[in-house]
Symmetry: C2
Subunit: 148 residues, 2 copies
DNA sequence: ATCTATGCAAATCATTTGCACCGTC
DNA sequence: GACGGTGCAAATGATTTGCATAGAT
């Protein structure tokens, strides 16, 4: 069974209705390549083939999917939330955000486990999630700087 | 020379005028204990003794101070920006954000340097800054959970 | 048939901006 | 006195919400 039908099942199980809009949005999310779509981005994609769809529905669906842990809300500091499909559990990656062009890259890593342990003990703080973001200049923009 | 006069000097050097509003806001920032004020927070504090001050001025001053690297803008995902005084350079700390009560704790650490090196090489990404946030339940709220 | 989901428009809420006046340098 | 800074109100832009209707179960 593919990812799409798996997700449809999860909606069913929670007694959520499987509306065409939700299917369309799910498909678009699964098809998206680089995976850091904002609500407006997704709305733009989805509207091409289905102009009747409303922006509010996109927001509501994203919220729903985030509540179900199908999506993660991400905030890259550009004034809008972005959403990415939740990957395999415990498979953390970090984000490299280019402050020049705004593109977001990913970096695989799990080095934070020991740090989390230390914090849990030292601060008695029960950690549920973490977010690590690096801000800087991507290789593409570095090259362009040289040319200026 | 204390911190306040030091900062006033830095404004002078940049040809910025030393208005009473700016002094008031600087004082309030320096006096603040836990140091994660939003613009609205600061406005509330400052307005008590100086009701004439405008919210727009608070925003403009915070923006100015952030541009001068006197303040860091922080986004803890609660829909408003928070500002904290920039500490000694290269003295990074991370934030523990309680998802229950919203309080923000700090954790001193410098373990990320080696990770930054690795990223610079592997991804050819010139890192300028990073932000590490841990989301979870603070010890205070953990105790309260037990009582419910 | 029931009750949730949708589309639209209006409402929110943090932040920004236009503009006439004020005060620092 | 010049020009940057301020206060106020109105503008912005992402997200949310009220409400009447449409549609999945």
């Amino acid at each position: 069974m593919d990812r799409f039908h798996d997700l449809c099942d999860r909606l069913h199980q929670k007694e959520y209705k499987l509306t065409p809009q939700r299917k369309i949005i799910l498909q678009a999310l699964l098809l998206d390549e680089d995976g850091h779509l904002s609500a407006e981005d997704l709305y733009g994609i989805v509207k091409q083939k289905h102009p009747e769809i409303g922006l509010a529905t996109v927001y509501r669906t994203l919220e729903l999917l985030a509540d179900m842990d199908i999506l993660q809300k991400m905030d890259f500091g550009d004034g809008r939330l972005r959403y990415e499909l939740t990957g395999d559990e415990a498979h953390h990656h970090h984000h490299l955000i280019c402050t020049q062009c705004g593109k977001v890259y990913e970096f695989e890593d799990d080095l934070l486990d020991s740090l989390e342990q230390a914090i849990q003990k030292r601060k008695n703080f029960k950690i549920v999630d973490h977010q690590l973001k690096f801000f800087g200049i991507c290789h593409h923009c570095q090259n362009q700087e040289t040319r200026d």
